[in-house]
């Protein structure tokens, strides 16, 4: 039972990560490979504040979000001067630099040793240390972020972002500030990515840089693409599917050592198939197959 709750909590984390990336990658068309970096910034800020200064989660969360936002602002001012493929390569570089800082700045992050014994979250004197209460907190965060993102996407600003992803030059010609809108969406995306980071640090109580690698960034991007660009619901279902997939593999009797690789092979294959058919997410992909079968 405890383990099932753990899986649900992981689904919440990946829903938060993929939905926040969906804002910049899906709505604005800024495919970023630095998302695990911002996730890591959130986790490390929280962990350092909690262990060194004894701050509570409710103070750490806004600080982590602001630091992630400031870094994203600096990064986007630079990276958004490039387009398409070069933007991806640029964000890949930023991901490597952020990882390198987490892995090598021994004085601040303790490098590969990681930061142990991060305290649990307390809420008005009530310590959230059981899985079920933590799941409730994560669910609350998911609903909050989902609400914020769906409102942004429905707002005029969200429509501007969609227009930019469809045709940048046309949006500029009707008087939209493309550069500024891109920066805002990238920064909001990074700020929201710090939320699962802060939750993760308090939940696992030990963090090290291996959770925030390039492969993690590729994984988050795959969730967004498999779930469908611009589909928040899709991101949620894809997160659930990809978190539960290794468990399903274990269920059919595959040993753990193979299951980890098999999970990556399967999501890689799904990503390739979805991209090759040029469809938006698995849903459309199956719709096409269904049409062919009938």
């Amino acid at each position: 039972m405890e383990y099932i709750l753990h899986l649900f909590i992981l689904i919440c984390f990946y829903t938060l990560l993929s939905q926040s990336l969906n804002l910049s990658a899906g709505f604005t068309g800024l495919i970023s490979l630095a998302h695990a970096g911002f996730y890591g910034v959130g986790a490390y800020t929280t962990a350092i504040l909690a262990t060194q200064f004894g701050f509570s989660f409710w103070l750490n969360l806004p600080i982590a979000m602001s630091i992630s936002g400031v870094i994203a602002l600096i990064v986007s001012l630079i990276a958004l001067r490039t387009v398409d493929d070069y933007f991806i390569i640029c964000t890949l570089g930023i991901q490597v630099i952020l990882f390198s800082i987490m892995n090598n700045w021994m004085d601040l992050t303790r490098g590969p040793l990681g930061i142990p014994s991060i305290p649990s979250i307390s809420f008005f004197g009530l310590v959230i240390d059981s899985k079920i209460t933590f799941l409730l907190l994560s669910l609350f965060m998911v609903m909050f972020v989902w609400f914020v993102l769906s409102n942004i996407s429905k707002s005029g600003f969200g429509k501007t972002l969609q227009a930019i992803s469809e045709d940048e030059i046309y949006s500029q010609s009707i008087g939209k500030n493309v550069y500024k809108s891109k920066i805002i969406s990238f920064v909001i995306s990074a700020i929201l990515a710090a939320i699962p980071g802060a939750l993760y640090a308090h939940y696992i109580s030990y963090i090290d840089p291996t959770s925030f690698t390039v492969n993690e960034s590729i994984f988050i991007l795959s969730i967004v693409i498999i779930g469908g660009l611009r589909s928040l619901k899709g991101s949620f279902f894809a997160s659930a599917f990809l978190v539960l997939l290794p468990e399903a593999l274990r269920f059919v009797g595959m040993p753990d050592s193979i299951a980890a690789n098999m999970r990556q092979i399967i999501y890689g294959l799904i990503l390739v198939l979805v991209m090759m058919t040029g469809k938006n997410g698995v849903k459309d992909f199956f719709a096409v197959i269904w049409k062919k079968v009938n």
Partner: protein, 293 residues
Amino acid sequence: MYSFQILLNIFFSSSIFLLIATSFSIIYFSTRFFHIVHAAIITAGAYFAFLFAFKMALPLPLAIVLAVVTTSILGMLSEVLVYRQMRKRNFPTLAYLITSLGLYIVLQNIISLYFGDDTKVLNTTEVTVGHQIFGAYITTVQMVTVFVSIALFIATKLFLHFAKVGKSIRAVASNLKLCDIYGINSNRIILIAFGIGSALAAIAGILSAMDTNMTPTFGFNLLLYGVVVMIIGGIGSTRGLIAGSLVVAAAQHLSAYYIDTKWMDAITYVILISFLIWKPLGFSGKQLKKIEV
């Protein structure tokens, strides 16, 4: 005496970066998208050599030739089975990049599954001090690497400029539609580019694995260095590639000497990002960044 050793190390590293950048740019040149699968191709080359030389106990030269051929076929398969299917439907280059990320994950994990994640050594000879040149040391493998890389770089350049197929590759690179009109089979030419690029990548992977050792992910970093070199140098520029590989190698070794080896990667990407912003066309100034119309 350190300074000469650093110089020699820079020279060695830059030769391997040059080979990787050449292998990658011949594919980028003809297709204009970032073929990230190339990272898995570099790794696959080294692991195929390991498979043939140690698991099947073939003699090393034969194993290397077989590994290069198999890897080249693997590269061509990725083009035929995936990219060619996509090209029929006119996708933006971004779609190719994301597809190749997925394919890279698949191939890298297949290698991990079959060979395991642990570090493998692809060197049968005993570890020796190496040859001494003016007080600096260089191993036999490193010397071979330098010669092979430079020879292959020159051979590729000559091939692109003088052979008929090489000229066709340049034609496809400059205008794909016009090539079709003039009866150059662009699919065939792109396939050849993938074959040559993957073969060169396999050689680079084998040499690099022989110098140090290998893990299923070691190709990714090597490829990214190659991409950095290519972007810094500018596409299709001989002098640019040489200058780019020297700059990247120098930055890495100098930062390793003056700061710490652990910041080598970060420094490389700082250079890349600065180039993408202030000099997106690279040293050569040839077109690299898409011009917004």
